[in-house]
Symmetry: C2
Subunit: 439 residues, 2 copies
């Protein structure tokens, strides 16, 4: 009997899972260093909440109980991102939260899409958002992408560059040139990298009802990019004027200049960044892994003013989301990163014979108590076989109880020394498996 993997539902082998785990650890540590609280939300949301975003409706997995009759369960679906659940969580718990509420969230999400390279049906996202009560100052739009840059720069992975635009620029510009369906225009321009400028121009005329001249101007706007205030000048050279456009340009320049003053090279302005989602109202972000641009954005988000509202109060926010599975899948698939060993174990205690197992286990307990991951050989096989057991898994040390006392062997160098289980320590890099760049 052969069990086939389920397409779109990635699973890692133990050694690859270490890569994912260490990346999640590093993200979490950075998020907490920046003062974000970790929360988890339930996997399910009421269907009407999930459908608020409209265009993703076909991707939702709906739940039903195998033997259950009609019940509220059939009105629930698995969340497809962590933003809709955040909005619901904030409204549900608003009275018990302190605002501005800074939260991170690292969970699986599910989309019933056709699986393809880097696109899964089940995947892990890592989100950070700041949500204010009624107001949220602009400086958060400068700081949030830097949290992600900081989080990703501590890892042995290629450099990440954030590309940013501002929804006010697109909206102000489109309105100034007379484009009526701003939402549809944004969604079409969002496909620029995928389908190219000619197809975008054509689709704008066909589906968004623009004139060819309007489509051309939208494309010329999308062509502007840069890392300083000159970006605003180049947009102004396109000859359109509106208060909203000016406000957006001012914010974009403040974002790019503010971010690069704190972390040089972290953020570039790129006006083709549109983001398909309706709810963004200010800065929008995408990010690429340098050298892996074909993977698409691995970290995206933006500012939203009214995603979260209970009718009386609104909770504006800004946030970004890392596609952790997409990132990990690429790192593992291209073997650019790997773990220094396949298991957590640092020391294997050899067992002379089954009668000595309790003593071996007692030695293991002493090492574990001092934070050294230790396993006891599963059988009292010949020492050569026990050493091979360690070697196959990359366990660096084997511990022997000999007539001359306790000894530990570094099987990478062959060096064997006397050792006291209450005192011996490995190099700090040997305690737990580490990540290493492999190319």
């Amino acid at each position: 009997m052969k069990i086939a993997p389920l397409s779109g539902f990635p699973e890692w082998l133990p050694q690859d899972r270490i890569v994912e785990d260490r990346i999640l650890d590093a993200l979490r540590r950075t998020f907490e260093l920046h003062g974000f609280s970790g929360i988890e939300t339930r996997a399910v949301e009421p269907l009407d909440q999930l459908l608020r975003k409209g265009e993703t409706s076909k991707e939702i997995y709906v739940l039903s109980r195998l033997q259950g009759g009609p019940s509220q369960d059939s009105e629930m679906g698995l969340h497809f991102d962590l933003t809709v659940p955040l909005a619901r969580y904030v409204l549900e718990h608003a009275g018990k939260l302190d605002f501005p509420f800074k939260r991170y969230q690292m969970q699986k999400v599910w989309r019933g899409e056709r699986p393809q390279d880097g696109r899964f049906r089940e995947f892990v996202q890592a989100d950070v958002d700041v949500v204010g009560e009624q107001t949220l100052p602009f400086h958060n739009e400068v700081e949030l992408p830097l949290v992600m840059v900081d989080a990703l720069s501590g890892l042995p992975i290629p450099r990440v560059v954030v590309r940013a635009s501002n929804r006010k620029i697109a909206q102000g510009f489109y309105e100034a040139v007379g484009i009526e369906d701003v939402g549809e225009t944004l969604r079409i321009v969002d496909k620029l990298d995928k389908i190219g400028p000619a197809a975008v121009a054509e689709t704008l005329v066909e589906k968004a009802g623009t004139t060819p001249q309007q489509a051309d101007l939208a494309l010329r706007l999308a062509d502007v990019s840069g890392s300083d205030a000159s970006v605003a000048d180049r947009v102004r050279e396109l000859g359109q004027r509106s208060d909203l456009l000016e406000e957006g340009l001012d914010e974009l320049v403040r974002l790019v200049e503010g971010a690069n003053a704190l972390i040089p090279g972290s953020v570039v302005a790129d006006l083709k960044i549109a983001r398909g989602l309706d709810y963004y109202t200010g800065s929008v972000y995408e990010s690429v892994l340098v050298g892996h641009e074909d993977l698409g954005s691995i970290c995206s988000g933006g500012r939203y003013d009214s995603l979260v509202s209970d009718g009386k109060r609104t909770y504006p926010g800004v946030g970004l989301s890392i596609g952790v599975s997409r990132l990990v899948s690429r790192l593992i698939g291209k073997a650019t990163v790997s773990a220094t060993r396949k298991v957590p174990t640092c020391v294997l205690i050899a067992v002379n014979d089954e009668g000595a197992r309790a003593a071996a286990t007692a030695t293991a307990m002493k090492l574990r108590r001092r934070g050294i991951p230790t396993d006891v050989s599963p059988t009292a096989a010949k020492f050569g076989k026990q050493i091979k057991f360690a070697d196959r898994r990359g366990i660096p040390f084997v511990w022997f109880s000999t007539d001359e006392g306790e000894q530990v062997k570094d099987i990478r160098t062959g060096e064997q020394v006397e050792a006291d289980p209450d005192a011996w320590v490995p190099e700090s890099s040997d305690y737990f498996p580490q990540l290493k760049e492999t190319k």
Copy 2:
């Protein structure tokens, strides 16, 4: 608009989530110190795999795509435990795993049951299992419950005691007294704590087809408990004999004596522990939190010989599972444990005016780089208000840039001292929030 919580789907506030998070961290650290590899499996399994266990079929959540036509999706359900997924993972990846395969897994599981105190529809389990290829020596049955005792004893929670029995005892004993439906008898005896001995005796006669005398003997067996070899004698005094029974008694004594020699008081023999599941073939375990026995078992499991088999090879295993959500829900609900503060932040950088925000952020970056969780005040409000912001969240330090230089104030004591952002450090217990027993 008021959003009601969804019954059976627990969610924690940020400060309570710290409790869950620290418990998961401690479990994970102990599991890795014992050499277990962390894996995650996808949330879904084919329905036929989920239905193999039989009696849980009505609890399964089945997936369908909202707008999808008939497809393989409808043959998938959310996993209701982490054992069935482990069995599938081992078979699917057997060629790439090293045996004995020691894995831990901490994930959410879903059951469409009626929610009640301590029973949820979505909850976190933390499992450890050792899976061998063809064989798995008995000593694993002694070691596995000790991993859980070790993991839980490092936490500021009440003591955990493992209660163990052995499936061979029940099966050998029942067969010796002439009970034919061993599986059904086990499931009924498993309800002893819930429904009491009289109801168990009655149900055994009615549903398992035993005679009243057989039912009485089953209850007398269930009444035996103890912490040493005398347990075996008390069972033998009931006058039944079989090779399987003797094998089970021998294993149970080895388990209790072996475990208590390594960690005194960790495991007691309790022959009423039956476990309802068919697949156990040796030791079975339940565990109670001392003082919270009403909560039921928070950590259960056992030895299984043929759960995992591809027809040619079998992969016997032994494992236990902690009901993390049940544990956390009780700790939070009874307020026995709490976090030392509500947010990760250790230091709040005060902002004199918006023009000084970039400098404040630069100071924050210096502290974060040295591992100190730091937030920057969201507004340049009056200092009193900024200090109140820290106080509400339990942030212990507020950092000021004054005319006399940089200073840091411990707002718990009021002490304010000069400080260098490149050198100042808090007490080690102040870096991140800790858990504390609150009663």
